[in-house]
Symmetry: C2
Subunit: 344 residues, 2 copies
Amino acid sequence: MKRKITLKHIARELDVSISTVSKALKNSEEIGRDTKDKIQAFAKLYNYRPNNIAISLKNKRTKNIGVIIPDIVHHFFTTVFRGIEHYANARGYNVIVCVSDESFDKEVINMEMLANGSIDGFIMALSAETQLKNDYNHLKEVTEQGIPLVLFDRVTDEIQCDKVIINDEEAAYRAVENLIELGRKKIALVTTENYLNVSAKRAEGYRRALKDNNISFDENLVLQLPYQMEEESMSEAFFKNQKFDALLCVNEIFAVKCMGLARKYNKRVPQDMACIGFTDGILSKYSTPSLTSVDQHGELMGETAAQMLIDKIESDHGENDEEQFETKIISATLIERGSTLSNS
Amino acid sequence: MKRKITLKHIARELDVSISTVSKALKNSEEIGRDTKDKIQAFAKLYNYRPNNIAISLKNKRTKNIGVIIPDIVHHFFTTVFRGIEHYANARGYNVIVCVSDESFDKEVINMEMLANGSIDGFIMALSAETQLKNDYNHLKEVTEQGIPLVLFDRVTDEIQCDKVIINDEEAAYRAVENLIELGRKKIALVTTENYLNVSAKRAEGYRRALKDNNISFDENLVLQLPYQMEEESMSEAFFKNQKFDALLCVNEIFAVKCMGLARKYNKRVPQDMACIGFTDGILSKYSTPSLTSVDQHGELMGETAAQMLIDKIESDHGENDEEQFETKIISATLIERGSTLSNS
DNA sequence: TTGTATGCGTTATCAA
DNA sequence: TTGATAACGCATACAA
């Protein structure tokens, strides 16, 4: 077993001091040609690599960023994560992921673990429970310690920090307008409980679009499902009792499920019921018919968040001057497919 | 800004030595009641937390594990990751993820970065390119350094280490038998290039099942698609030219795409063409018809891998005795749905 | 009961 | 041109 070699080993072996070795390996001008050559050759031979941990301790920089997301088996978060990972890697950072499982406690525990020196900054999306409790003390503590934080997608106004979001309200607005342009009059909304701020935003856009187009808002056309829509009864009843010719769903699973129900109740998609979902994931692409959906550009969001974070981390000498925070808005785009276009 | 406090701060503030503080906070019996109380109170007040990095350096244990996977926007890997993350967290470990993007070079770079002290062990699935090149020197180096490694799913015989796999060959065998029991005679296989060892295994199972049931193997009934099946021409031709009444696909995307093609060529699923896929992901559940598929139990695989890894890490005093490696096999199970069951 | 010294691996300052 | 020393934050063997 070839154990990792350290500066000390090299120094001892070559009968020089540790600091000489250190300098030689950094190609310092201070060290003589011969000594440098000798040391460098030896280091290469034994494949010397500096120990990251020691360097972290010395520099007070880990080159790690912490990512905390509610769920990992989830197309959108996964996409964002990919963007973060790519960008971070390109700038020499590694990514430590913790999954909160939509739990407040886990979110808090994970943050505290990582905040004790393991990472240089956080990127996170709030768990559902955190948003429900409206308790952000763990975020406050972290920012007060001077650890940079970037929130994405599931954000809160309670915390002053960089943020990356999509224009949910407007995306929903445009989706509904799109349906109206297709001649739809009775447009239903399928959403989650309102404490998820993205859902709330989307509902606002939905209402505003109706209003701007002189369609009166009908509460009966809003179906609010629990986040993990497991039992079908609510949606079954909705399909039985309500009349509508179009559907806006706040995620693609709801949308695909609803298209299934439409089939069951003999509504053709898109002829009798057009359908638009949020999250342009794998389901949208491969469902039958394929689903028109709002692409949230997760990868771009991730890259953007990572860039904001790393920029802040690396400019952190300015701990005195007034902190300036930014909220970047990623423009969602509508990908039109079979569920609204009859010629597909 | 409340900067992180250290032992040294406390010591200075309370006019005691650093080691006294250290012991007091560990509730050591050596320290007097009063001093202990004083120190503990102070530490609590200022929310003292030991610095992870310093502890890592001291203990030569990071409590981090490195996970390297080919892709993160991928249901199966994501599921495995969840299992790893859950288990690791429960045992006090954090997870650093690197994505190889199916690239050999990235895999190597990522491993080397993490191997320099950032992690206590690796869990990984080989990238496609690595399997294609058949070059495992980066894995060898890591294991030779005494860093524990667990491979899962995409493994290789070239490396001696712990492994977790599913019984791919048998799962495919059983899937085909299932189709035969349903009365299917001409069963096609849709697979990827063979350098992906899982695909190869599945193809073996397919052939063995045919043989055991006296169905002659017909090369024309095997469709081999590039990994990222973007152009449709090959599969279109296949559907036009070949006759078959059942399909085994090595992943769910292929399966769903094929069901789409079946529709296009007026084959009813499952009546005219039954279909089974691998990876019981979101597509299988929500496709129309829903897809019968082989559940690889990714989460269990992840937990198992994490357990093997952490057990090895924590038993690592035994660096002298002969290393014993294990390969655990997770039993895949067939989830029957609409694509093989006509009554659904 | 408390404190001193040393080490983990590295870098940086200063002295030789 | 090289080396001794201190420091990063913590833990511990050993002294006092």
